[in-house]
Symmetry: C2
Subunit: 152 residues, 2 copies
């Protein structure tokens, strides 16, 4: 799908406020409501806009900590990796998971309420049965920025 300038403006606006009314959005991008809505629907149908979500404040629901886990797997064969991937997808505490080139095999961001909670999570889930050999955990002291808004 080829995006033009108006499409990009629509995406920028909806990345800032996903509940913006179509009337307001149309005004901001300089269209009348009907063609504006038509473009939004096209962007949704093409999967450019994959979904709309509410962003919940981590601290306000008692989940103070994000932890980064650098994972080494027990092996690099397809079976081990697939087993690991399936396990990570299943765990709601794992909010980001990447298979990495280089030193570690994977990188996780894990959301927990405190250090005790993380220890419990690690002992229960970051284990051999999920294909994991070792875990090195990096601890952030402060979150400066956290967004899904892409630079368009």
């Amino acid at each position: 799908m080829q995006l033009d300038d108006i499409d990009r403006r629509i995406l920028r606006e909806l990345q800032q406020d996903g509940r913006m009314q179509n009337i307001e959005l149309a005004r901001r991008v300089g269209l009348s409501p009907s063609p504006c809505l038509r473009r939004v629907k096209l962007l949704e149908d093409a999967g450019v806009i994959s979904r709309y979500v509410a962003v919940v404040d981590q601290a306000k629901v008692g989940l103070q900590l994000s932890m980064f886990a650098r994972v080494s797997l027990t092996a690099q064969d397809a079976e081990t990796i697939d087993q690991f991937i399936a396990a990570m997808k299943r765990l709601p505490e794992v909010v980001e998971c990447y298979i990495m080139l280089g030193e570690s095999d994977a990188l996780l961001r894990v959301v927990v309420s405190d250090l005790a909670d993380y220890r419990r999570f690690q002992a229960a889930n970051l284990t051999r049965k999920n294909g994991i050999q070792t875990v090195k955990t990096d601890v952030p002291s402060e979150t400066i920025k956290q967004t899904f808004a892409l630079p368009l």
Copy 2:
């Protein structure tokens, strides 16, 4: 703010679909529309729901790569750190930024279209003038999971 069970159910639903109609949301959590909307407004006003956003598919807008940059600063004094923080907030390519305990001083996730784009970004922005001494970059080969939905 104290959350009860219905509040948590509301948050779970809206984390999945931030544009769910209030009528549908009310049905799912077992309330009639008015008290449901009242709860949503309270959650918004308290900042538990901080915002609503459209999630854009990185690949579909030509931003194929996320890169992780482990940053060491030139110094750890408040001035250097503040200068660094201000710079990271300003850069739209930096979608996540954490100040770290341990080996590196900060961890970034940077969204770019390709390796050449990243090299350009690094040369222009991850520099001494932003308080940065060295950068070690980790490259993901695959994104398994990426969500802001917290485990509630």
